[in-house]
Symmetry: C2
Amino acid sequence: MKLPAGYTVVEESAEDLHRREAPYEELAQAVRELGDATVRTLVAPGEVSALTEQVRAVTERLRREQIEGGYGNRVTPDRVVVNQGNATTGGRNMIAPPLRIECQEDRTVTTRFHLGAVYEGPPTFVHGGVSALILDQVLGEAAAAAGRPGMTGTLTLRYRRPTPLGWCSAEARLESSSGAKSIVEGVIRDAEGTVTVEAEGIFVLPRWARESPGVGWTEDPARRFE
Amino acid sequence: MKLPAGYTVVEESAEDLHRREAPYEELAQAVRELGDATVRTLVAPGEVSALTEQVRAVTERLRREQIEGGYGNRVTPDRVVVNQGNATTGGRNMIAPPLRIECQEDRTVTTRFHLGAVYEGPPTFVHGGVSALILDQVLGEAAAAAGRPGMTGTLTLRYRRPTPLGWCSAEARLESSSGAKSIVEGVIRDAEGTVTVEAEGIFVLPRWARESPGVGWTEDPARRFE
């Protein structure tokens, strides 16, 4: 099987890989907390500078052995794709909430997540671009869950009202498909369940993926690692 | 001057505030590096767990004194708005590259930025939602730079080709405006200058801002803090 750049075939199962990744996910969670504290701290500059040195020392130790470039996709023997570095779902990625996207029986996808201080745009509200970031992923997962995986071709977002920082949810489902194109719709809701952002996306399966089934995603969404 | 939630009037100038923020910006930059290392490290789990404890200890010290909620907007006496917590431009925010957006003489805005491993979507490429996050901010700044500030009403993204991780640039300008609505167009380019994503946004000035000129943004974009 010839794989594009950034794909690595691993020998272990998704379960084993997940187990082995746990300490790295805990580190990422600690970094998320650190990032939140960095936005919000009122501690004096002198102490902050001393703490900055400690952070740099941790980074230096982590970098002693590291992969070239991003995490990329790991493909297990049963073709489950794992990307712990993904900007929205990656367990190792501090900028990912991370989203845990669930596929329902009717093949809609849903997710509930918390957005704190680092996701702020207008004061007290989620940055409009953060909503776009999340919806791009959720809509893409809905296309995949319906057996129509693809890359984003067009994404249209309608901002109905500001989204307060805090607990939010999102959901999406495939509306229609034709040839290599799929149309997906989804929304973000605030903590009260009110729709704040609506999205429509057109997803397109690239030629290389059409010619290499199973690369880039698994055929069965229920077997997806995350 | 009555201010909405999340706005704070400060007594110091933008320059003084900027100077006082420098150590916090250095901490945020160190956290960005730590986040990159967290995605990419190959260091053994045992050592990673020990380093996680060190990160948690730093966070605990930063949290001894912290603001409630997000950073919000600080408004200086000459009405420059500073949001060091903004998810795209905030100097204190680890998830912001951060963007440094420049307003040109013709009131187009431009920015050049580096996207590393934490911005990954498809292997070796920028997450489509990250491009959306950046374009939402850049288009909004273009509206403001042209004297037509507003909140995002609609944002449409067309993905022309994948954006490789690495150095990128973005630019945007006001195309037209009518009443409280402005139409802005912009693009992201890869390191070679090729357009990878096109965006069109409709920005709307909310009523409360129309009734309180100068709150939420300064009238003169050249005086914007960032």
